[in-house]
């Protein structure tokens, strides 16, 4: 029965739709005046709890303009991606799903998303936002917001920031706080927040082709990778990084003034601003000599491969979400840098502008399905290096690369 309840609901919907279609197509099509009922369609859009409030006004205005009803279905952010992959093939999925660009590879690999064609509009967006949703030469999502991590400084404690990470640690110690800098880890590790340090050693996760798109060739090994591993072990031994500091603890430490610096994203920076803190957002200083490039995450909309409302869904996603007005509105409610350049240029918020600048050098997080095999090995090894369990950094890092390659090859 459990399975059949959504099925029954879906079936009723199908029955009604079918009967509605058959009813109207029986009418003589030649008579244009009588066969023009009001445009009333329904689009089902899945959106998670972090984004649904931004999309409620968009749904209302879309309905007012086009007569198409937008049913926003709230899904838990932990489930929405998996549910989409498992439910689209059964016909129970939505028409459109709002999510992050790094889902693209998994969705394409399972055949659950339909390509979208932005045409000339693609040029109006930040380039990284467009390439983020591209996979194997096709576009699969329409971006609306960009986010990335950066270095956030508590101006009440320090006002100048040196150019390298080692100097920053040394300077942070003079602030008289328990931590010179915090980068969240947790006992499963957090490769995302360490990535700027890693790229500053010249060890990106996957090799990039000339057009900026990723190839499934691992690039995080080699000398650059082992140098970074040794650096992590050093930071761990010096207690600059600590597996005990997870996201909540890092945020709290910064809020309590226990550290002058935190590496984090706009999601926590909002809380710092709300708490009345005086903060400055800066690019992460280099640790290994090269530029520290964070991952850039892009939010956007995907269209289901099995939608029965393909025209409406495409109209909503490619013609409506791409307008300046809607991107402005999503910025106002969502507080992230808009993907549309015209909207992004209007931002006067210093904090967001700081994140935007720090992300300018970044590259989109890889959306390859291979990326799914990377995260856990990566985080685990990093946390073992920081915690001191892995006594041979170079060996642990090399073994990690081998294991990731093994997992990718299946």
């Amino acid at each position: 029965m459990r399975r059949s309840i959504p099925l029954v609901a879906a079936a009723l919907g199908v029955t009604l739709t079918l009967s509605a279609c058959s009813g109207s197509s029986d009418e003589p099509t030649g008579d244009a005046s009588s066969a023009a009922p009001e445009l009333t369609g329904t689009l089902t859009v899945w959106v998670d709890e972090t984004r649904i409030d931004s999309f409620k006004p968009v749904a209302e205005s879309y309905q007012e303009e086009t007569g198409v009803q937008l049913d926003l279905v709230q899904k838990a952010s932990g489930d929405i991606r998996t549910d989409f992959v498992t439910q689209v093939p059964t016909g129970e999925g939505p028409d459109v799903v709002i999510g992050a660009h790094d889902w693209t590879g998994e969705f394409v690999n399972n055949g659950v998303v339909a390509p979208v064609e932005l045409g000339d509009k693609a040029g109006d967006f930040a380039e990284s936002a467009i390439t983020a949703f591209a996979y194997d030469g096709k576009q699969y999502g329409v971006p609306y917001a960009i986010e990335n991590i950066a270095l956030v400084r508590n101006d009440a404690l320090l006002t100048e920031t040196p150019a390298t990470f080692d100097e920053l640690v040394a300077q942070g110690r003079t602030a008289g706080t328990p931590f010179p800098v915090v980068i969240q880890q947790g006992d499963q590790g957090d490769a995302y927040h360490l990535y700027p340090l890693q790229t500053s050693f010249g060890a990106p996760v996957f090799a990039q082709a000339a057009d900026g798109s990723y190839t499934p060739e691992l690039a995080l090994g080699g000398e650059a990778g082992t140098a970074f591993a040794a650096y992590l072990a050093k930071l761990g031994a010096e207690k600059v990084l600590d597996p005990a500091v997870d996201g909540d603890k890092a945020k709290q430490a910064f809020l309590d003034g226990q550290t002058p610096y935190i590496v984090t994203g706009p999601w926590y920076a909002e809380a710092f601003v709300e708490a009345g803190m005086d903060i400055t957002v800066l690019p992460v200083p280099s640790a290994g000599g090269e530029e520290a490039k964070p991952f850039v995450g892009v939010q956007g909309a995907f269209i289901s491969a099995k939608t029965e409302n393909s025209v409406l869904a495409n109209d909503f996603v490619t013609n409506y979400l791409t307008t300046e007005e809607i991107q402005d509105e999503l910025y106002a409610t969502g507080g992230r840098v808009p993907a549309l350049t015209a909207s992004a240029d209007k931002i006067d918020d210093e904090v967001l502008a700081g994140f935007n600048e720090a992300g300018a050098t970044g590259a989109p997080m890889p959306s390859l399905p291979e990326m799914g095999s990377v995260w856990s090995f990566w985080g685990t090894t990093e946390v073992q290096l920081i915690g001191g369990q892995a006594t041979d950094p170079a060996g642990a890092w090399t073994a990690m690369v081998t294991n990731i390659q093994g997992a990718i090859d299946g």
Binding site: S24, P89, P115, N309, N319, A407
Partner: protein, 539 residues
């Protein structure tokens, strides 16, 4: 009830045939005296019928014939049982049986079915879905081709597309007939308003024929290699060419540029001779491969046996420690000499009243090496790596599970102790047995009769205690440099989760197979143990 009440009056004149009379009467009694109870039954069954009928229609509409058959049989059974006079036991059994079928047997059968397939990432739908997804994903927009504002047209049932080209000419085409310039058509800017022989579709009509419109491909010219015009939103069109072609008769894809032929493989993907594959694949049966993977795949078999051993150790030690502490406390608080027993007893129930996953999370926080309550306050700022050292993590898990589990054992033992007749113990003492002897020879065996089955179920529960492991350590600390992401405290079920869901590629087939293996192990052990407990009762 009602027939019995009327029985004496009618049975009176004919004392020799009392039995058939009321029965015959009762058959027609509904018509004469409808009791409230019957009305309630009628309404309830009618509701069930209505729901069932709705389900049947809905399932039939999406052609889920299995569900239709099940619902029809269930409805027939329900009506027959509740309106028949001979099915009294059935009236109590049917709801339970139906729920058993749906929630237990169906789930088990489905898990069993999935365990023989390669269901998972890249293989999560049917072959037909995979073919259409490949066709859509491999279609390329012709490089440098312009964006056309298109108008959707119809000629009877047939759909077509129209564009206004750079010269202002109106060009119209259908799937069979390439785009060609038509005379006498009217356009408003770049939108066509009227074409002879075609009807210009409005937004409402477009919305009704969405599937057909996105399937529509209008060739640009007689030369197929120039591609075809299509639209996704009914207003903008682009020219596309496919990069692979599907041959329905041969069931193969051919790459149009390189000529590589992709044939369907045993594992549900279109694979070329050089091993390259087209994604997505589809779901196929793989026989026992998921079952043997745990032993034959060297990446899995190494950790598998380590984890199997720890699973047994964890389950057995959890039962032994919780039972030991629970029994000890039960005996202590069963002694009348202890004052304030009720107060202590209610305090001891507290951990039991906490949801397990919440308690595990709280403990995880308290055991945090740098900020946790235990290191920070109790141990005065010590740096004990409770959850990150392999042995300490195992100890932490056992201790937290002891904290969570002993109140249950305490409750059970208290109840069982109080059920032991005091005169039996008394007589043992009279025979000169000491306290320990009484406990070993009398109390414990008598206790085990009622408690042993609960210990077995506790073992089965802990064997699958995913919540505790997942919330407390997440299976960590992970094995160093291991090719699969499992750790020192992972038990079988959390290993399944790690391998099948957290390793990036979801493998529902593998997860189902290991679930079935776990079920078999737990089932076999429980069966053997229950047989053993029978001998206890013979004491």
């Amino acid at each position: 009830m009602s027939t019995q009440q009327t029985e004496p009056a009618t049975a009176g004149p004919e004392p020799r045939t009392p039995a058939p009379e009321p029965r015959r009467r009762s058959v027609t009694s509904h018509a004469r005296d409808i009791k409230p109870g019957f009305v309630v039954k009628l309404v309830l069954v009618a509701l069930v019928d209505a729901l069932g009928l709705y389900g049947i229609l809905a399932a039939a509409a999406v052609q889920s014939w299995g569900i239709v058959v099940f619902l029809v049989l269930a409805l027939v059974a329900v009506n027959w049982v509740y309106f028949s006079r001979r099915m009294l036991p059935g009236k109590y059994l049917v709801p339970g049986l139906l729920f058993l079928l749906v929630y237990q047997l169906f789930v088990m059968a489905y898990t069993g079915y999935v365990s023989f397939t390669n269901y998972g990432d890249g293989h999560n739908s049917t072959k037909a879905d995979a073919i259409s997804a490949i066709q859509v994903q491999t279609e390329r927009r012709v490089e440098g081709s312009p964006t056309y504002p298109v108008t959707v047209l119809s000629r009877g049932e047939e759909l077509g597309l129209g564009i206004v080209d750079e010269d202002g000419d109106v060009r119209v085409g259908t799937p069979e007939q390439p785009l060609e310039t038509v005379d006498g058509a009217q356009a408003d800017g770049d939108r066509i308003t009227d074409v002879e022989g075609f009807e210009v579709l409005g937004l409402a009509q477009i919305a009704q024929r969405q599937g057909e419109i996105t399937e529509l491909r209008v060739p640009v010219s007689d030369d197929a290699s120039e591609g075809s015009l299509r639209t996704q939103d009914g207003s903008t069109g682009y020219v596309y060419t496919p990069s692979v072609a599907y041959d329905e008769a041969a069931d193969t894809f051919t790459d149009l540029e390189t000529g590589t032929v992709y044939t369907p493989s045993r594992y549900g993907t279109f694979t070329a001779e050089d091993g390259s594959r087209l994604t997505p694949g589809w779901r196929v049966g793989v026989g026992f491969e998921n079952y043997t993977a745990m032993f034959s795949d060297s990446r899995l078999s190494g950790p598998f046996f380590t984890i199997l051993a720890w699973t047994f150790a964890f389950a057995i030690l959890s039962v032994v420690t919780t039972f030991g502490l629970g029994l000890f406390l039960a005996i202590v608080f069963n002694d009348p000499r202890v004052r304030g027993r009720r107060f202590y007893r209610s305090l001891l129930i507290l951990p039991y009243a906490f949801p397990g996953f919440l308690a595990a999370l709280v403990w995880r926080g308290m055991l945090n090496p740098r900020f946790g309550f235990i290191n920070e306050v109790l141990l005065g700022g010590a740096d004990v790596p409770w959850l990150t050292d392999p042995w300490l993590a195992k100890l932490s898990i056992l201790l937290v599970n002891l904290w969570l589990g002993f109140p249950y054992m305490f409750l059970v033992c208290t109840g069982a102790l109080q059920a032991i007749p005091s005169d039996v113990i008394e007589s043992a003492r009279m025979d000169g047995a000491g306290a320990f002897r009484v406990f070993r020879s009398m109390t414990l065996p008598l206790l085990m009769i009622s408690v042993a089955p609960l210990l077995i179920s506790s073992f089965a529960f802990n064997f699958n205690n995913f919540t505790l492991i997942y919330m407390l350590t997440g299976g960590g600390p992970n094995f160093e440099s291991s090719p699969v992401l499992v750790g020192h405290t992972d038990i079988l079920i959390s290993m399944v989760y790690a391998v099948a869901f957290e390793s990036g590629v979801k493998q529902y087939g593998l997860a189902s197979a290991v679930s079935i293996l776990i079920f078999v192990i737990v089932g076999a052990i429980s069966y053997a143990a229950f047989r053993r407990t029978k001998t206890l009762e013979e004491l």
